[in-house]
Subunit: 314 residues, 2 copies
């Protein structure tokens, strides 16, 4: 294993979601020195445990270091009411990354200064996001004039209308969570093998609900019935369930924002499925690496804070 020189680390970028923590050790000019995956998400920690957890993961950087606390810029559920400290939501329309309104916390030995970025909220229809706004902010670093829709597939996929550097409105779909619930806990579980998703079945099912998104509820049971009536295989059933859900999601939303370009933020196979259906729907799609966008968004916040500190020092 090659030796990694961590001494160039001047700050840390953190994406701390409900179930995951990812840390990037960053240089002064926003290069990634090293990446660390934490074992616990915000949902598994409480109170002072957050600081202890983070200090333990950053021990290789903190050891032998002196002077000011290490700066950490964090986004995600770490800033929720049940997280480390609540970072109040910004109302849309808003620029997605607002470092000035970050909630600042320290660990109990004061070795870290953590800036938790606020999420976004929409009052009507009510909606919230934490973490995705920073990815959108990262996309805007690369493409400041982006005018379109950003789609972030996931357990709760987010669709954001972005214009003039702001998120103007957004919607959350529980599509990923529905797939998990239905394939693991519903009557469909007898029929489904999610390890072998059949792509042809995915595409057929997605085209059904893309044109008739309202038919989702009535078609779900067909995943089970097809296995009883015509011996559909478990991988076909998995493809069909995924296709019905993603097709209905895209079919329902595409009418809201017609003719706008769509950026799918995500590198996973899930994002690939979204791109496939969006292209089948005749939409203009680009796929953007989500990790890169996250780091860019956090780095943007860090630059803002550094400018602030520098001007305060003068």
């Amino acid at each position: 294993m090659p030796q990694i020189d961590l001494s160039a680390t001047t700050w840390v970028a953190a994406d701390w979601g409900s179930t995951n923590l990812r840390l990037w050790l960053m240089t002064d000019d926003d290069k990634v020195v090293h990446k660390i995956q934490g074992p616990r998400g915000a949902a598994q920690l409480t109170g002072a445990e957050f600081g202890t957890e983070l200090r333990a993961l950053l021990a290789p950087v903190l050891t032998g270091r002196d002077g000011d606390p290490l700066e950490v810029i964090a986004c995600g559920m770490v800033g929720s009411r049940q997280g480390w400290a609540e970072a109040a939501y910004q109302n849309v329309p808003a620029a997605p990354v607002n470092a000035v309104r970050a909630r600042i916390v320290s660990d109990d030995r004061n070795e870290l200064t953590v800036h938790i970025l606020p999420g976004l909220q929409q009052l009507s229809p009510p909606d919230v996001m934490r973490g995705e706004e920073t990815q959108i902010g990262g996309l805007l670093v690369s493409d400041p004039d982006f005018d379109g829709i950003v789609c972030l597939p996931g357990t709760h996929s987010k669709w954001a209308r972005v214009s003039n550097g702001q998120v103007t409105s957004f919607a959350t779909c529980m599509t990923g969570e529905m797939f998990s619930l239905l394939s693991e806990h519903s009557v469909l579980r007898h029929t489904i093998d999610t390890d072998s998703l059949d792509l042809a079945s995915f595409e057929t099912a997605a085209s059904e609900t893309l044109t008739r998104p309202d038919a989702l509820l009535t078609r779900l049971f067909s995943v089970r019935a097809a296995a009883l009536v015509s011996d559909a295989r478990p991988g076909e059933a998995a493809g069909r369930l995924s296709g019905l859900l993603i097709g209905a999601e895209i079919g329902s939303l595409r009418g809201l924002w017609p003719d706008l370009p769509i950026a799918v933020l995500g590198a996973s196979s899930l994002s690939g499925l979204y791109v496939r259906v969006l292209q089948a729907a005749g939409m203009s799609v680009t796929q953007i690496d989500a990790e890169h966008a996250t780091v860019q968004g956090l780095a943007k916040a860090h630059r803002t804070l550094r400018r602030q500190m520098t001007s305060a020092a003068i």
Copy 2:
């Protein structure tokens, strides 16, 4: 407790679903002598356990009885591949109660002769039902000329087109199961109290998805977001979730069969919610007691079998 004279029992009606068993001790002229609730559904039993279970529940009738085995007419998941014995589906269009195609089984002491009625299947789109067809058959006993839609709310609600004494097509919606999954296992569980369903929230939500059933996936998360953004109460969240689901179900299906009368089969509070939304949608609705319909459907099958036996004896 008044003494019940069980000696008038000449046959037994049984509705044996996945999670429930209900038995009605019946007279020769199809009056209910007594009702018994069994502790185990078909999903909790296997092989010879079915016969032992049924014999134990019917012991008060079997004790001291001699002559032919007691006749039992059963419907429901007891006839599935994982049930006592598979009663092959009838393809639609079909008269819903077909006693002649019942699967006949005995317990291992030959004290019971059980006729398991077949369910219905539809090849395209694939769909199946077991048990509900017998309730529809019972409705047709009371109203042989019924021409319309029968709605059977439940874990998996069924919608059947009935005409000329036949089920011509049907659809299953996993609405009830979705409500359970989302309120017990999803992120919405933090927000919901299903013991106090707020009716005003139910109606508002149902009217949203009744007119836009395709919006279901995007609105589900609003149940959670409303609690975060505007402190919606748990009973309001429960009402909202139920309303979104039932509104989307009815909104999606009502276009398939416009202008037909709808019979809602069910006496539960759930059925009352369906009636409320159907009426709000301007549809012609009657609510019919499901238990009465079940017994009537099973009694119809029994009369057919008795005629058959009588003519065979001559």
